[in-house]
């Protein structure tokens, strides 16, 4: 009844994808630009039809129950510009008129904390306010299933946090969210489960913790040492205890390690043996970014 199953092939953007989103969870699609996230979303939203394969949501299918589905889905697209000349209230009222049921326009505006902006023109809102208005338009039909395509891209940290609160609020009410993002922290914070996409395929699937655990690394150590005159020999580092992988990139070295407390002293010993001084040292817990780098050898935001 509340499961989403799809398995379709789209030669260009999405290639034989198979996913199941469980009722009440927040499912994240993560991947670089051009990975097929948006196409996947648009197929689910009924905006694009898949070349093959099928989508089932809330027990309904697009070909037989499009009207019913649209009543129950909330959609926020990546770069919609709402009409600048209308006010916030007029915009929400317009969207509300399309749905049979749902909160009143004033309630939704209060929900996204735009009460004071009700009479302002959309063109005069800030980026974060526009994004919250877009969210209001997605929530105005009281959806069971919410699609959010990069909801916080281009927003400042405070505006992002406000939107995250809003999404968590919606999730807490037991409804389902499908979210795309290329921000790691966003995915880690909001999503129960994540599918990492690349070139139209899912290359990893699981909870954020599972995904991070799957690369068998707990920490990442980044440092720079030596210089053009005295290059650092990387191979001894790979032999060290608790080190899984070492990469060098633009003069800085990344070590994926399982045991930080053993790897760092070993690193310092090795550097002094090579006669090099450390110019920079950073460590962080392994993140989804590291998962992506491990799986593809590229960074998420390379493109």
């Amino acid at each position: 009844m509340r499961n989403l199953r799809k398995a379709y092939k789209d030669v260009l953007a999405v290639d034989g994808l198979e996913l199941e989103v469980r009722a009440g969870e927040c499912f994240g699609l993560l991947g670089p630009n051009g990975a097929g996230k948006t196409t996947t979303m648009e197929i689910c939203e009924g905006l694009v039809s898949a070349d093959s394969g099928e989508v089932e949501m809330l027990g309904l299918r697009w070909d037989s129950a499009a009207g019913q589905l649209r009543q129950r889905l909330g959609v926020q697209l990546q770069d919609t510009q709402l009409a600048d000349k209308l006010t916030v209230l007029e915009t929400v009222r317009l969207f509300r008129s399309f749905y049979h049921a749902g909160p009143t326009p004033a309630e939704v505006i209060a929900l996204v904390q735009l009460e004071e902006k009700g009479k302002s023109r959309v063109g005069n809102l800030s980026g974060g306010q526009k994004q919250r208005l877009a969210m209001a338009c997605a929530l105005v039909g009281d959806p069971d299933f919410l699609f959010l395509d990069e909801p916080t891209t281009g927003l400042d940290p405070q505006a992002r946090r406000q939107l995250w609160d809003l999404i968590e609020e919606f999730k807490a009410s037991g409804r389902t969210i499908l979210l795309t993002t290329h921000y790691m922290d966003e995915a880690e914070r909001l999503c129960d489960r994540i599918a990492i996409m690349d070139h139209g395929k899912v290359i990893a699937l699981g909870t954020p913790r599972e995904l991070i655990a799957s690369i068998g690394v707990e920490h990442v150590v980044e440092f720079s040492a030596g210089g053009p005159a005295k290059p650092l020999a990387l191979s001894p580092l790979r032999q060290m205890d608790g080190v899984r992988d070492v990469r060098s990139e633009n003069g800085s070295v990344q070590m994926q390690v399982t045991e930080l407390h053993r790897a760092v002293p070993a690193l310092l010993d090795e550097l002094s043996r090579q006669g090099l001084t450390l110019t920079e040292l950073r460590t962080h817990s392994a993140s989804l970014e590291d998962v992506f780098v491990t799986l593809t050898g590229r960074h998420l935001r390379d493109e």
């Binding site: 939203e45 009924g46 905006l47 009207g67 649209r70 009543q71 889905l73 959609v75 697209l77 770069d79 919609t80 510009q81 709402l82 009409a83 000349k85 209308l86 007029e90 009222r93 317009l94 969207f95 509300r96 008129s97 399309f98 749905y99 049979h100 049921a101 749902g102 909160p103 309630e107 209060a110 929900l111 904390q113 338009c137 929530l139 039909g141 009281d142 069971d144 609160d165 809003l166 968590e168 609020e169 919606f170 807490a172 009410s173 037991g174 409804r175």
Partner: protein
Amino acid sequence: MSEITIPDLPSSQAARKSPHASTWTERPLAQLTLVRFLEFTREPEALFWVFVFPILLAAGLGIAFRNRPADVLKIATVTPQLAQSLRQEKLLDVAELPAAAAEEALRNGKIALLAVPAPEGGVVYRYDDTNPEGRTARMLADRAVQRAAGRIDPVASSDHFMREPGSRYIDFLIPGLLGMNLMGSAIWGMGFAIVDARRKKLMKRLVATPMPRHSYLLSFLLSRLLLLVVEVGVLLGFGAVVFGVPVRGSLLDLGLLCVLGSLSFSALGLLIASRARTIEAASGLMNTVMMPMWIVSGVFFSAQRFPELVQPIIKALPLTAAIDALRMNMLQGASLAHLAPQMGVLAGWLIVCFGLALKLFRWR
């Protein structure tokens, strides 16, 4: 997970009110139409082009081509005898000049004609025969000279002047401008709004809601008809009050003609905007469609001036049909029954364009 500070989302159960009997103002069509209307009225440029510009144009042309009392023509002569004969004609302003000065005035165009005595009591008229004023002056001067010499006209004649409203240029112009305005505002109104919504992905966003698609298209037509009342009223009112342009046909018929015309042009606008993704592409298309009609459809001068061969094509254009019908209604008081051919042309454009637009329309 962090504590949530926002007020509770109305829970699914509580908020899913039974489809409440929504008042008509909460229906999608009413809301979409309202929004279109609001957007238009908040666009100062659009207000100018639709309401102010036609009035300025009508006022300017009306003043430039206003009917003046027949002009008095300036002529000159060199002898007092001739001058006296010529002064009998009230439509001539006769100056008696020395020969050299008279020659120069003629060359400069200050006078339309120079009358000089010829040997044996005759008169020579010197004037530019390609200039209508010169030819008129020749006829008037000669009549004055002949009558002064004792000619009696064999047939008695008298004049009856026709300066009634309805036969002046402004009377011809106002229906033309009305037709042009119906076309312009419908095509621009539809075209830009639709392409803009498509370009901003607003249309895609709307399509992702349960909005009935026909309501979206219908809302454009309805908001057009709302504006039409104002548009037509302003231009006709201006013509009637300032220039006394008559409306001899029934006002109801005139209203129906305007509605039909506006719907046809809106359908044309819809067709033009059905696929374009950019404003540039759309405005290029709009100009290509409208420009020829501005010229050949008889807005400013009669379409009859074009060769017989192309008349059937000109008559089949929607603007020609609209303007012809408006003129016949306003100036000749023709009823709708007499305007069947023009209404048929408009209805044909409406059906064909709307049908094609529905087939071609790009919803993304």
